[in-house]
């Protein structure tokens, strides 16, 4: 019994050692770190570009949807519905592998940016619409009554209040865009995930994948938490 127990313990120790060697191998991690960081910058660049373009597109879409009239308003609604239905990965593969057949050849970076911003614009438009509809009617009336132009009504009065109302969902959407950049690895974009899978193949060890996962979490966790805090604060104020 005692012998068996000792044998088990040493077996467990060996198993634990091999788990560390396999998944959390320090020397493999250190070796792959430069590649992972190169990938991180590409991920961040791709994410930020897509977030900014998505917000700009979303603003354009929501203006067309709310104030575009015929035929722009129904077209904007159609766009928003379609691009909220299509999986980003499918869109990305269509853009990267199908568009070249009609002569449109985008680099992995711009293919990924296009796919991510097209989808993000649809979500941003819906979020901004909720914000604009949350601004009291009296604000629009006061802006019109002092004679502000339509554009000034938006930029001076409505949008500052609308955006403030929807900062938490806009941040959540940006977090999603940043996470979805990992899809770009399927079109050979050397982003964080791609660097990790390459390093894994090179070292014949999955530690770089764990490293990449940790880096994603470190990058995004502060934003995830701040959304929670912000929502709490807004809820408290609303009460």
């Amino acid at each position: 019994m005692g012998e068996g127990s000792t044998g088990n313990a040493s077996f467990e120790t060996i198993a634990l050692m091999s788990i560390f060697d396999t998944f959390l191998n320090w020397s493999v991690f250190v070796e792959s770190l430069p590649a992972l960081l190169r990938g991180l910058w590409i991920t961040v660049g791709l994410g930020l570009t897509s977030i900014v373009l998505g917000l700009a597109g979303g603003l354009l879409l929501v203006m067309l949807r709310l104030y575009g009239g015929l035929p722009m308003s129904p077209l904007a609604i159609g766009y928003i519905d379609v691009f909220r239905s299509v999986p980003v990965l499918v869109l990305l593969i269509v853009i990267y592998y199908a568009l070249p057949f009609v002569g449109i050849r985008l680099s992995p970076f711009w293919a990924a940016t296009t796919a991510l911003s097209l989808v993000s614009a649809a979500y941003s438009a819906e979020i901004l619409r909720a914000g604009i509809e949350g601004v009291p009617k009296g604000q629009f009336e006061a802006a019109r009554a002092i004679g502000l132009s339509s554009i000034r009504q938006m930029t001076d009065i409505v949008l500052p209040q609308a955006v403030k109302l929807v900062i938490p969902p806009l941040t959540s959407n940006s977090i999603n865009v940043m996470k979805d950049t990992a899809l770009a690895s399927v079109v050979a974009m050397p982003d964080l995930l791609k660097q990790a899978t390459q390093a894994q193949a090179l070292a014949a060890n999955p530690t770089p994948l764990i490293g990449a996962a940790v880096i994603y979490v470190i990058l995004l966790l502060p934003f995830v938490r701040s959304v929670g805090l912000l929502e709490n604060r807004l809820n408290r104020r609303a009460r």
């Binding site: 604000q139 009336e141 006061a142 019109r144 009554a145 002092i146 004679g147 502000l148 009065i157």
Partner: protein, 245 residues
């Protein structure tokens, strides 16, 4: 003979099947203080909201200072020439008091921020709020907010001021400070159209009172005539109801 600055000819307005304004014809003279009274739902607010086109009228003609309301090319001019004070103030909550007042002159009249803020400061002194220029609307009492609302309307130097029940959302102890400012304005010669339930103010300040009922002007005249010898039974009933408590 003074010139008419606002003229309505046969103006009607529907909300669905509800007739909010029914063939209203009215001239407001330059410099006149016109007070509009009547039961709720009588079309008082709709009347003044049609003048600066916050509502669109369905029939008839409205002309403000020679500009036709409904002609989109003249809309900006009409809105610049008519200031409006709202029941719920509708101050811009994300801007300081000073900015609230200075915004219109900058964006619509083309003043620089320095000029507009100087003008705003003067107006805020006039409504007794010089100590609050840097505050935000939510930091002010209702009466103070409404006085900012008046300063904001005045900053455009409008020919016409429209007041849509300016004291109805106020606590009773704050009504006086707002009415005092309005009474002061009436003496400056600006044209004022005031929708209100404040009968004391109407009697003291109005040049003419308009009584509306069911979208029509039922009776009008100087305060003494209207209050002391009301003709229409609906006006008599209304006055009895509002003056009895």
């Amino acid at each position: 003979m003074m010139a008419s600055i606002i003229s309505l000819r046969g103006v009607s307005k529907y909300f669905g099947h509800f007739r909010a304004l029914d063939d209203v014809t009215l001239d407001v003279m330059a410099g006149e203080t016109l007070v509009v009274i009547g039961p709720s739902g009588s079309g008082k607010s709709t009347l003044i909201r049609c003048i600066n086109r916050l509502e669109t009228h369905d029939a008839g003609d409205i002309v403000v200072d020679g500009f036709t309301v409904g002609d989109t090319r003249q809309l900006a001019t009409i809105r610049a020439e008519t200031g409006m004070v709202f029941q719920n103030f509708n101050l811009f909550p994300h801007m300081s008091v000073l900015r609230n007042v200075a915004l219109g002159p900058v964006r619509v009249r083309g003043l620089s921020w320095v000029e507009a803020e100087a003008r705003a400061r003067k107006l805020l002194v006039r409504v007794g709020l010089e100590a609050h220029v840097a505050k935000y609307p939510t930091q002010l009492s209702g009466g103070q907010q409404q006085r900012v609302g008046i300063a904001r309307a005045l900053a455009m130097e409008p020919k016409v001021l429209l007041f849509d029940e300016p004291t109805s959302a106020l606590d009773p102890e704050m009504v006086g400070e707002v009415l005092d400012v309005m009474q002061g304005l009436a003496r400056t010669g600006v044209t004022m159209v005031v929708v209100t339930h404040e009968m004391g103010f109407a009697r003291r300040v109005a040049d003419r009172i308009l009584f509306m009922c069911e979208g029509r002007i039922v009776e009008q005249g100087p305060p003494t005539t209207l209050f002391d010898t009301p003709q229409d039974p609906r006006l008599r009933g209304f006055l009895q109801a509002v003056l009895s408590h």
